[in-house]
Amino acid sequence: MESYREPMSPSRRVVIVGGGMAGTRLAQQLAARAPVPALRPVSALRPVPVPPPVPALRPVPVPPPVPVLPPPVLVLSVRARVPAPAPTPTG
């Protein structure tokens, strides 16, 4: 199989189909690892609305303290080895 090693143009165009976690992660990593050119108007591409900024995280309610439990009344510990199957008689 031919390996993708040589760039096709001075600016490599990577298109990711899928805007979920994997695609977004890849875009982030690529942007972090390689120089990304400034966006320029491309006639074939329509302007994309800028998503609103993500608001600050809501505070997470602190759960009530877990009551101290009494000592265990039963702790069952079993260690078992699964037996090997009995050898099949030969002859």
Partner: protein, 490 residues
């Protein structure tokens, strides 16, 4: 050289952490809370746009609005679709619309629609008792619905839990007010005609069971797993099995086309897991970056031949299903580049977060660590050799419950599972149950290696176990310590 990155997504929403969708459904988080950090300013993002065709000869993708986007490298990260079971009444003849009240649970739109439909006292039936179904049922219960979970299998979360752990989970679900029916096959849906815009529609009224009983329902959630989205790849002539087939360089059968995430199949495995998807994305970013930065320090290990040729996973085991219910920390646990670690909330005594929180395929030769070693003759190119991850889930308490009674059934329940918890002949099984605290711990050991395990109720040891599992390190001479102490016996 620079990289022009264009990301094309169908969903109009900003990217989000689908691991936390159940928390949005439960009302614990607003949708924007689980949004992922926006891509860097230089990344072009086309939202609400669907790619309808890959034109490989011209190296372009064709979008539903007619535009053509050229590429030098194309990455398919198309994800997966929910499986819609063949239920009588689910669709009308030649119809494609689900009845009102019937929802899949895969996307933010699914989640928002379901959240808008649920009311206190609503009768909800969740079909499917896997990780997703359990999470959805818990979330609906938190919203005040009367929830019945119908599961065809013998016990809940069969892919992650054994019967003992599942029994404990079932007790917990019952304490949350969820009525669970196992070995319960659903035959069809009953619908009624409702008035609607543009004519009458259908709304679900009951779920028919195979034994003749019917469960009245205002809402039905289909949580029957997912299937990789491979239509684009197949139509483009790429090799497709269950998923888009990729090699260790994440290439498809076309060297200019790559695939990652839920749609990809590597070494016969479709992971369907956030952790694996992120690991694949990281490796591919290395590969596609023309000027990779200094390599990160990595722990390398060869595959252990003593692991032996693990059995080929059954087809149904290869795909772990919809992972919308995977647990991930909601805040305060952002990893590098602002990404949420999809795994490991630090447990008490676990100061070293590890990487993932996903479901795990059984032990498989491909489940070595992602290998960032240079390939022979290639000093810079990393490869992907599979992912070892673990499933974590926290079932939070329903408001109004005691939040931690002595029985432990009405507070939150933590759960973790990894590897293969089913022992083979000759394996050691170490099993600890604390009836007071409602905890369950089990690990399976083969030789000096950890093969799999289940923790329920108390994840104090999950850090040590996860590190051992992920690195495939030899166990101490007394592996029982892994279960008894929070520091792994060290």
């Amino acid at each position: 050289m620079t990289v022009e990155v264009t990301i094309i997504g169908e969903e109009p929403h900003p990217a989000y952490n689908r691991v936390l969708l159940a928390e949005v459904l439960a009302g614990r988080y607003a949708p924007e809370v689980i949004a992922l950090p926006a891509p860097a300013a230089g990344v072009r993002r086309l939202s609400g746009v669907r790619v309808v065709r890959i034109d490989r000869p011209t190296a372009e993708v064709v979008c539903d609005d007619g535009r053509r986007v050229p590429y030098d490298a194309l990455v398919l990260a198309t994800g997966s679709n929910p499986v819609l079971p063949p239920l009588r009444g689910l669709f009308e003849p030649d119809g494609h619309e689900l009845p009102d009240g019937v929802h899949a649970f895969r996307t933010m739109d699914d989640c928002l629609a379901l959240g808008a439909a649920v009311r206190p006292g609503a009768r909800a039936v969740v079909i499917g008792g896997g990780l997703l179904g359990v999470s959805a049922a818990r979330a609906l219960a938190q919203r005040g619905a009367q929830v019945v979970l119908a599961h065809q299998g013998e016990h809940l979360m069969e892919r992650q839990l054994d019967p003992g752990a599942s029994g404990l989970l079932l007790r917990h679900m019952a304490a949350l007010g969820v009525e669970v029916h196992t070995e319960c096959r659903v035959r069809g849906l009953c619908t009624r005609t409702v008035d609607g815009e543009g004519g009458g529609g259908r709304a679900v009224s009951a779920v028919e069971l195979a034994d003749g009983y019917a469960l009245e329902a205002d809402l039905v959630v289909l949580a029957c797993g997912v299937r990789p989205r491979v239509g684009l790849a197949r139509a483009a002539g790429l090799e497709v099995a269950r998923g888009v087939v990729i090699d260790d360089e994440l290439r498809t059968s076309d060297p200019r086309v790559f695939a990652i995430g839920d749609c990809a199949e590597h070494a016969g495995i479709v992971y369907g897991l956030a952790g694996a998807a992120q690991e694949q994305a990281d490796v591919l970013a290395h590969r596609l970056s023309p000027t990779p930065p200094l390599p990160e320090p990595m722990v390398l290990r060869p595959l252990d031949p003593q692991e032996g040729p693990a059995p080929e996973p059954a087809p149904e085991d290869r795909f772990v299903g919809n992972r919308s219910a995977e647990w991930a920390p909601p805040s305060g646990s952002w990893g590098r580049n602002g990404w949420a670690q999809t795994g490991h909330r630090a447990a008490p005594g676990d100061e070293t977060p590890t990487r993932h929180t996903d479901a795990v395929p059984a032990d498989h030769p491909a489940c070595a660590q992602t290998d960032h070693r240079a390939a022979p003759g290639d000093e810079t190119v990393p490869q992907y050799h599979g992912t070892r991850t673990l499933t974590r889930l926290t079932l939070t308490a329903v408001p109004g419950s005691a939040g931690g009674s002595a029985s432990g059934t009405d507070g939150p329940l933590d759960l973790a599972a990894f590897g293969n918890p089913t022992p083979a002949p000759g394996d050691d099984v170490i099993h600890l149950t604390d009836a007071t605290r409602n905890t369950y711990r089990k690990v399976v050991v083969r030789g000096d290696r950890l093969l799999g395990g289940i923790l329920l109720g108390d994840l104090g040891t999950v850090g040590a176990l996860a590190r051992t599992w992920e690195s495939n390190e030899p166990l101490p001479a007394t592996p029982l310590l892994h279960l008894l102490t929070n520091d792994g016996g060290s």
